[in-house]
């Protein structure tokens, strides 16, 4: 089990919907469970039959992790739990758990009530689904079961967005979800520690973009809005109720205040106050600035932004309207678009990415006419602007994240194929890392070196440490450990030989040799011993040669001198079989001496 498998059920070389299957160490984890906004049929949900053609999904999937509340990451969750029947654990952060059901319900209403589709999940299903969710906090190590562990990191992007580290034993994967490496007006930058995952699965929406400075983009945005209202036009800003909307509101509100502008700004009613309340309550998830000042002034109490009322759409003159959803695929934003698009004075600003198939995507690609299901045709004469305000990491940010967490492999998802290709080359070049980009339904197998964990007896480690520290410091000298590995079933333990024998329940058999050499050295034995000590120390540099009680010892080799003064000495050399090389070497030295002396 040294392979990690990643199978995108969505977000493989596309941006439509995120749903990725991860297999690691015998565990199956589903990363995100998103819905595709570009489809109106079954294709909007991930193909769960891929996981388990028939039979329950629950027994196959160990857990589902949702990175943030955007519907392309969580939209299919009620479908999975209430219709497909998954009943295992689901994890997301507290803000995601709070906000996701609001967006799900909003989408359900649009789909079922406005488009009249049946065969979709119900309000009750959303509620039942959310009851099964376990909320996690940042950096908490959560054990899903005995082996599977998950940990969330701050991802920026939207309130509550998180990256997740998933690990089984020594293997680990980081899944980024959507993230942002530069702090914005209300959120902080993504952060992760040097956790060195085997695989980093990263989004790559802006794989090839290095976005110009934040300030420039903001100035551009304000300039365009002001130009349009100056000529009496209406500005439509399609947004999702939570996320970018809050940042743009902060931006416009403070600009209106500063420039003393009077043109009305509206925000689609209903969600506004509620949405801002979430921001107030989860203010710990915003950035330092917002956090520090929240007691004195709450950034989400806007002065110039008023709730939108349906009757305002007929009002003459300039106005700015924030309306959901963000990709002009349904709801109020699409309604207003149809009304305002035929007039040159008006403007639509798309502040984020649009999925293929949505009206947003069409007009961004220059479509001058849009045909709707009911044969209604709308001319697009209003100006169409695109401002990249969605908070994804750009190429620089992605490279930065790789640098932070030092993965062994990188896998790109949530991006367009050609752009991924470019980034992949860049990653290979700069980091010398293998980089993958599987398509939907394609299995990507990544072989990881397996790590083996061994218990080492502390006395063994300590004795090595004592030896090491006794020598003059030299970082280049290799440290060597010698011991006996005891293997009992799956348990591995390294210990010294005597401990090992005891552990294995066997007796060691010690072989010892003793040889005698006769030396002509007419001096007291103690003098002879000193002479020999000097000689050995000279010949055996790097060894510890010790003289105690008239005997010399080197490792297990013992040299003993016998005989009176003024006569021939008997020198006994004794050693164990393990020190054969050393013992016979010392014996050689003595024998050669004997020759010289006689």
């Amino acid at each position: 089990m040294t392979e990690i498998k990643v199978i995108p059920l969505g977000a493989g070389q596309d941006v439509g919907r995120s749903c990725i299957l991860l297999q690691m160490g015998g565990k199956n984890v589903m990363l995100d469970c998103g819905m595709h906004m570009g489809y109106n049929d079954d294709r909007r949900f991930p193909d769960f039959s891929f996981i388990a053609a028939e039979g329950p999904v629950t027994s196959f999937i160990d857990c589902v992790i949702i990175s943030h509340f955007h519907l392309d990451h969580c939209g299919a969750l009620p479908y999975l739990t209430e219709i497909v029947g998954y009943s295992g654990p689901i994890y997301m952060t507290h803000p995601t758990k709070a906000i996701a059901p609001i967006l799900l319900e909003d989408m359900r209403k649009i789909t079922v009530e406005k488009k009249g589709e049946a065969n979709f999940f119900t309000s009750q299903m959303i509620k039942d689904c959310m009851k099964k969710v376990t909320a996690v906090t940042l950096h908490q190590s959560l054990m899903v079961d005995g082996q599977l562990e998950i940990k969330a990191y701050y991802a920026g992007h939207v309130l509550g967005a998180a990256m997740f580290r998933i690990s089984v034993g020594s293997q680990s994967v980081v899944y980024t979800g959507d993230y942002n490496m530069t702090p914005d007006r209300h959120l902080g930058a993504a952060w992760i520690d040097k956790c060195r995952p085997d695989v980093l699965i990263t989004e790559s929406t802006y794989a090839t973009t290095i976005r110009d400075s934040k300030r420039c983009r903001e100035r551009d945005f304000l300039k365009k809005v002001v130009e349009c209202i100056d000529r009496g036009g209406k500005v439509l800003i399609p947004v999702f109720a939570l996320g970018r909307a809050q940042e743009l509101c902060i931006l416009l509100d403070s600009h209106w205040e500063r420039m003393n502008l009077k043109v009305p700004i509206f925000f689609a009613v209903g969600l506004t106050e509620k949405a801002n309340n979430y921001y107030k309550m989860f203010i710990t998830w915003t950035n330092q600035n917002v956090k520090k000042t929240f007691v004195q002034r709450n950034m989400f109490d806007f002065k110039h932004i008023k709730p939108f009322d349906k009757k305002y759409e007929e009002n003459p003159g300039a106005m700015v309207v924030f309306a959901p959803p963000g990709m002009l695929h349904a709801g109020l934003s699409l309604h207003l678009f149809k009304k305002w698009a035929p007039y040159e004075n008006n403007m639509v600003i798309m502040p984020g990415f649009c999925v293929v198939g949505t009206v947003g995507h069409k007009i961004l690609n220059g479509a001058k006419q849009i045909e709707f299901e009911n044969r209604q045709v709308v001319d697009v004469k209003m100006s169409v602007e695109y401002m990249s305000f969605s908070a994804h990491a750009d190429a620089k940010g992605i490279m930065q994240l790789i640098q932070y967490c030092e993965p062994k492999n990188v896998l790109l998802v949530h991006g367009e194929a050609e752009k991924m290709e470019f980034l992949r080359e860049k990653i290979k070049q700069e980091f010398k890392l293998e980089c993958y980009m599987p398509a939907n339904g394609e299995t990507c197998s990544i072989v990881t070196p397996y790590r083996i964990s061994v218990d080492v007896s502390l006395p063994l480690l300590k004795s090595e440490n004592v030896k090491h520290n006794a020598l003059p410091p030299n970082p280049k000298r290799p440290r060597v450990i010698h011991g006996v590995l005891v293997m009992k079933e799956t348990a591995l333990c390294l210990m010294d030989v005597d401990e090992a024998c005891k552990e294995a329940g066997i007796n060691r058999h010690i072989i010892r040799f003793t040889s005698t050499v006769r030396l002509e050295d007419p001096s007291p034995p103690s003098k002879t011993a000193e002479k020999l000590l000097k000689l050995f120390q000279e010949k055996l540099q790097g060894w510890s040669v010790v003289l105690t009680d008239g005997s010399i010892s080197v490792e297990s080799v013992l040299v003993k001198i016998e005989g009176g003064e003024d006569e021939q000495k008997n020198v006994y050399v004794s050693w164990t079989n393990q020190d054969e090389e050393l013992g016979s070497y010392i014996l050689d030295i003595l024998q050669n001496m004997g020759h010289v002396a006689s």
Binding site: H94, Y278, M281, F294, S515, E555
Partner: protein
């Protein structure tokens, strides 16, 4: 590693209160001199009030003992909750401390409020004189002054800049977040259920686990419930922070408090509740407001006065992830988790930084309920209200914080006409709960303060107010004592490189037990060990000299088991050594060969004696012997 950093604020009770407006009563208290005293240095340091002696000086506090520990050598301080970090600036600043402090986000944020409030209380009423001679004549002073513990080590409070510097050393951790300490240990904060962000700590290595349990509660109040599962089966459980009021039930006290408040208000009196800026006070707002509603006293205003009141109320409502499930679920609606947000919005609860803040004097009307600090009644706005209301028997002061004996707190204000009610609310574990917890956690060794092993001195016969010591190894500790914990580490987890692992071939010595002798390179980085293949360096070739002891280890094998003597002799024969004479000895055999060669064999060893000159013979014998023995 230091566990918590609490400050003993009790010492402040020996000092005169610091009123916001000069009090003629306090100014006119008679000086007190011991009869035997000779010098006049003591002049003016001590004052007498109703036969209690107080020091007339800026109050002093007793930080953790120094001299036992060199604070500059501390690596880590773990903080359990915001009430046990008030000495932090004393330790982290100007002691050479270089380590890190770990605490949860609420502990840091609310701890900051506690520290800032304390500093502000002391600084807004500066005292010119600093009494010190009384410490020299301690033996001449009456009780309780003469019983002061090491008053020479007492210190004046730190400054705001010390607080900022100290708090900047805190690294924030989440519950269940494993923090690596120099690669050697992991520390993890787990929920303790006592207050917002309060934690117990797990200190663990690969195989050993020490749990530090302090300030825990199993009652349901506003914080997240205590996580007991993770504390199970540890080698050592250090248990402290049990209730300071073991004989009363906090729920009963809360009930009595509500009754006392209602009774006072109905009689047109006002109520003072001295409190800290966070904690139980949130529960008091909640319970009291609903009790007043049901007693048709809804129109009675509640005032919360603290330099950090706004921050405290604000923060408490954004810490959803640290709250009980009920409170947590409210933010999903989204509604503020604490009702005090609503009480503030509707004007029932009004908060001010100080009594002289804008608006307070115009808003203030009686009867009312005032929440303000400090519970010691030595500084803070509470001093003002006691002075203001003390002579009127219609008013009531209710003591809820268990940290100070209420009669001592009131001593410098005597004689008082105002009613005093004692309703201590301490949600920490009581002895019954603690004993139950210990039984469930099953630690190998339990460490508790000495005081928990005997009945409290006020209730010498309550044998239920002690920690059970049966069927468990218990170490009791006292202030200033050094004990060694019974944790012996035996093994460490080390990574073995797979390339090396592939080459290891074990010998089966018993069914299912394999042994393999290995010599390998050891990489040590940040206290983490890695065993790698030991790369050979350069051409070894014909090395004449033995350069490194390690070189000899490379091919090493170890022999084991018994030597089959018949097989051995037979092999000797086959190899041409025919004149072996085998002789039995007490422990085994002795084999005599030609000349002076002799082999001594017993169960666990074989010893070959041989002339140096007979090298060839010796090597031959060695070979044969090794063929006859098992090895690994």
């Amino acid at each position: 590693m230091m566990l918590d950093c609490g400050l003993s604020v009790h010492t402040a009770l020996n000092f005169l209160p610091l009123p916001l407006v000069p009090s003629s009563r306090l100014l006119n208290l008679p000086s007190w001199m011991p009869r035997e005293s000779e010098g006049s240095q003591l002049e003016g340091e001590l004052k007498e009030c109703c036969s209690r002696i107080f020091v007339d000086s800026a109050p002093e506090f007793c930080p953790p003992l120094d001299k036992i520990v060199d604070y500059s050598e501390l690596d880590v301080i773990l903080i359990s909750n915001y009430t046990s970090m008030l000495a932090l600036p004393f330790i982290t600043e100007r002691t050479g401390f270089k380590g890190v402090v770990y605490a949860t986000e609420p502990t840091l944020q609310i701890g900051r409020l506690y520290l800032e409030e304390l500093v502000e209380y002391i600084e807004q009423t500066p005292k010119r004189n600093q009494a010190k001679y009384w410490k020299e004549v301690l033996h001449l002073l009456p009780s309780p002054l003469c019983d002061s513990f090491k008053p020479r080590s007492w210190k004046q409070l730190y400054t705001l800049s010390d607080v900022q510097a100290s708090l900047s050393r805190i690294k924030v951790v989440g519950y269940d977040e494993k923090r690596d300490v120099y690669g050697a240990l992991n520390v993890t904060a787990v929920s303790s259920g006592y207050c917002l962000g309060s934690s117990n700590w797990i200190i663990s290595s690969d195989y050993e686990k020490v749990a530090y349990v302090s300030g825990s509660s199993t009652l349901t109040t506003h914080p997240r419930p205590m996580d007991q599962n993770v504390l199970k089966n540890c080698n050592v459980l250090i248990l402290t922070g049990l209730t300071q009021t073991p004989t009363v039930n906090p729920d009963t006290m809360l009930g009595e408090l509500c009754m006392a408040v209602a009774a006072t208000l109905k009689a047109n009196g006002s109520v003072l509740i001295p409190c800290y800026p966070s904690g139980v006070v949130y529960d008091l707002f909640e319970c009291l407001s609903s009790h007043l509603d049901s007693s048709s006293l809804s129109s009675i205003p509640m005032y919360f006065i603290s330099p950090v009141a706004d921050m405290s109320l604000g923060y408490s409502n954004i810490l959803a992830e640290w709250l009980s499930n009920t409170k947590q679920n409210k933010v999903y609606l989204p509604e503020e988790p604490f009702p005090h947000a609503y009480l503030v919005k509707t004007g029932r609860l009004m908060h001010y930084k100080r009594i002289y803040s804008d608006g307070f004097s115009t808003d203030f009307r009686q009867p009312c309920v005032v929440f303000c600090g400090h519970p010691s009644l030595r500084f803070g706005d509470a001093v003002h209200f006691i002075e203001l209301w003390g002579s009127n028997p219609l008013h009531t002061v209710i003591f809820t914080e268990p940290d100070f004996p209420y009669l001592d707190a009131l001593a410098p204000f005597q004689p008082l006409a105002m009613k005093a009610v004692h309703c201590p609310i301490d949600t920490s574990l009581n002895f019954t709960q603690a004993n139950k917890l210990i039984r469930e956690l099953k630690p190998s060794t339990l460490v508790v303060p000495n005081a928990y092993t005997q009945a409290p001195s006020a209730h010498p016969h309550r044998s239920d107010l002690v920690i059970d010591q049966e069927s468990r190894y218990v170490i009791s500790v006292q202030r200033g004592e050094v004990v060694s914990l019974a944790v012996k580490r035996h093994t460490a987890k080390v990574d073995l490189c797979p390339i090396l692992a592939d080459k290891v071939s074990g010998c089966e010595v018993r069914p299912g037990v394999n042994l393999a002798t290995i010599t390998a390179g050891l990489l040590v980085k940040d206290n983490q060990h890695n065993i790698k293949e030991w790369a050979d360096e350069g051409p070894s070739g014909k090395r004449k000299k033995l350069t490194r002891p390690e070189d000899c280890l490379r091919q090493l094998k170890y022999e084991w088991g018994n030597l089959d003597i018949d097989q051995f002799v037979q092999k000797l024969n086959q190899e041409g050594i025919k004149d072996a004479k085998v002789e039995r000895s007490n422990t085994g055999f002795i084999i005599h060969l030609e000349e002076d060669t002799l082999i001594q064999v017993d169960d666990k060893s074989t010893h070959i004696y041989c002339e140096a000159a007979d090298r060839q013979l010796r090597l031959k014998l060695r070979n044969i012997l090794m063929q006859c023995l098992n090895s690994f």
